[in-house]
């Protein structure tokens, strides 16, 4: 649905976004994470047609960003970081104004506005002047205008900033709901947002993509299972096959899944003369049960597998993101 190819933006001779590429499929939510000034907002501005790229291109729902921007605008919902609202308008008038500009047919306009009001829980605020709303409600009005026309492409720039925990949870629900029939990109610098919401992640720093990952397995929607990352010290004898054999009885259960991959970096505590020492990562999905976790670890310990760390998958992802954001 969204296919970005070597997108670059230079402003006043400075390269703000450099040669970035990624893709997002329909029904997916992509988290765009990076430190302040990394180029997230500039990328979203380019994809939303608010700013033209210097080079590279992108295809959104089959339309070329450089030559078919008018068609893209028809299927796009965009919420800027600080929703630019008109303080003198009331919420309902503002949404009517945006519905008119989004050229929603008059017969479905009322339904679209009611649906956005309902989804963003703005029913009690429709008659209120926007200038008198709290920051959180303004953010909701910004989101409501973005989802008004049921967009196929939804671009959200830090949509949960300045919301309270309950509002954050509701906003996540709205975004998940919209993603059923759309491709969603949202930028954030909050790690939990990525873990709770995203199917894909792109880490950007200094205008360049540093890390891309498909992370659907960690979606918090699957909260009946416990996702663990177990790092063990591997060598010539302790390899992926051996660990699969050790856990064979364990993984026969349909409720347990263990994926063994070679990790990056060198393993600590290598014995003198020991060669080919490396880290193995076991990605385990087990029932959310302490006894089951204990059995799994006991199984490895009994066979003399040196366990280095055990952590929830979210923490491992967090560490990976931090690693790429720092380096």
């Amino acid at each position: 649905m969204i296919n970005v190819q070597s997108l670059t933006k230079k402003i006043d001779g400075n390269t703000i976004v450099r040669d970035i590429s990624f893709e997002v499929n329909r029904g997916e939510i992509m988290g765009f994470i990076g430190p302040n000034g990394a180029g997230k907002t500039t990328t979203l501005r380019m994809l939303s047609c608010a700013m033209a790229p210097t080079s590279g291109t992108a295809e959104l729902a089959g339309f070329d960003l450089r030559t078919q921007d008018h068609e893209i605008r028809r299927i796009l919902g965009y919420q800027p970081e600080t929703p630019p609202l008109y303080p003198y308008m009331n919420v309902l008038d503002y949404l009517k104004f945006m519905a008119d500009l989004r050229q929603i047919p008059s017969e479905s306009k009322t339904k679209a506005i009611d649906s956005a009001i309902d989804k963003c829980k703005l029913a009690e605020m429709t008659g209120r002047e926007i200038g008198k709303l709290s920051k959180g409600y303004r953010q909701r009005v910004g989101l409501a205008q973005a989802i008004l026309a049921s967009p196929k492409i939804l671009l959200l720039d830090e949509p949960t900033a300045s919301l309270d925990p309950e509002q954050i949870n509701e906003t996540r629900g709205i975004i998940r709901n919209c993603a059923e029939d759309a491709a969603v990109i949202f930028s954030t610098h909050i790690m939990q947002e990525i873990q709770h919401l995203c199917d894909r992640i792109v880490v950007i720093k200094q205008g360049q993509v540093r890390y891309k990952e498909h992370i659907r397995v960690t979606r918090a929607t699957d909260n009946t299972r416990r996702h663990l990352v177990i790092q063990v010290r591997g060598n010539t004898d302790i390899n992926e096959c051996k660990i699969q054999d050790i856990l064979a009885d364990f993984t026969q259960s349909e409720h347990v899944n263990v994926d063994v991959r070679a990790g990056s970096g060198s393993a600590p505590h290598a014995n003198p003369g020991e060669t080919d020492v490396h880290i193995l990562k076991l990605y385990a999905a087990i029932p959310d049960d302490d006894a089951m976790q204990f059995q799994l670890l006991q199984c490895l310990i009994n066979d003399g597998i040196p366990i280095l760390t055990v952590m929830p998958r979210e923490s491992e992802l967090e560490q990976t993101i931090l690693h790429y954001m720092k380096n």
């Binding site: 402003i11 047609c49 608010a50 800027p80 630019p84 104004f97 008119d100 500009l101 050229q103």
Partner: protein, 242 residues
């Protein structure tokens, strides 16, 4: 085409609502009517001149100061709040945005001019004026005001600050108004005469004298069109360069 017109209408309506929601219209329109009414009354009752000539001249000077106040927020406010960025992501063209806002400003001008029609009541009561020059004068002040507003929209599109937009517009309008005065510098020769023709005061003067020269009509419309084009380029530049 109908979509284009209906989008212009949507923006026009929103801007007009803003004029009358905020104090802008309630300050500008009374000032326009009171000040031009004062000069008109002075001319009619003190100088005993039963024409609109002085009134039209004073209206033109007054609009030099009031037109920038009408247009200063139209684009600068959107630039400042970031809503211009959001407008760029909607399926509407730059021309739609500019025309919708421009027509709202012109509507405020028309309301002011319609209000000034009350001057005609004592004029026709105390004198026997020729309606021709009055109609020409109204056409002239309408065209002149339209030029002022077009300049104002352009300058507002360049800035995020409304005060800068207002002062910048006044500066440009003063240059266009006083350009004809360079004609008085004999040393400039023919160049001085050409300054007369690019001055709005010269062309407005033709209407005030009661004639409607085609050249002056074309000049006013072209000048408004030129600043519309510059405003369009200013928005285009924001998307492609910045």
């Amino acid at each position: 085409m109908s979509t284009y017109i209906s989008m212009i209408r949507v923006i026009w309506k929103k801007e007009l609502h803003n004029y009358f929601w905020s104090p802008i219209a309630y300050i500008i329109l009374p000032i326009f009517l009171l000040v031009s009414g004062y000069f008109f009354s002075f001319s009619l009752f003190y100088l005993q001149v039963a024409t609109m000539t002085n009134a039209f001249h004073n209206m033109a000077i007054l609009l030099l100061l009031l037109a920038p106040a009408i247009t200063m927020r139209l684009m600068a406010e959107e630039n400042q709040s970031g809503s211009m960025e959001l407008l760029f992501t909607l399926p509407i063209s730059y021309g739609t945005i500019i025309l919708g806002k421009y027509l709202a400003a012109v509507t405020v001008l028309i309301i002011g001019l319609l209000g000034s029609l009350v001057f005609l009541i004592p004029l026709f009561a105390y004198g026997d004026p020729d309606p021709g020059p009055i109609l020409a004068g109204y056409l002239g002040i309408f065209l002149l005001g339209s030029v002022y507003l077009s300049v104002g929209i352009f300058v507002s599109s360049l800035s995020k600050n409304q005060i800068v937009a207002a002062v910048g517009t006044t500066g440009i309008l003063i240059i266009f108004w006083f350009a004809s005065y360079l004609d008085n510098f004999n040393v400039l020769g023919n160049i001085g005469i050409s300054f007369r023709y690019i001055s709005v005061s010269y062309h407005h003067g033709e209407f005030v004298r009661g004639i409607v020269p085609l050249a002056s009509v074309i000049y006013m419309i072209s000048l408004a069109g030129l600043f519309y084009a510059l405003s369009w380029f200013s928005l285009y530049r924001k998307r492609y360069i910045v």
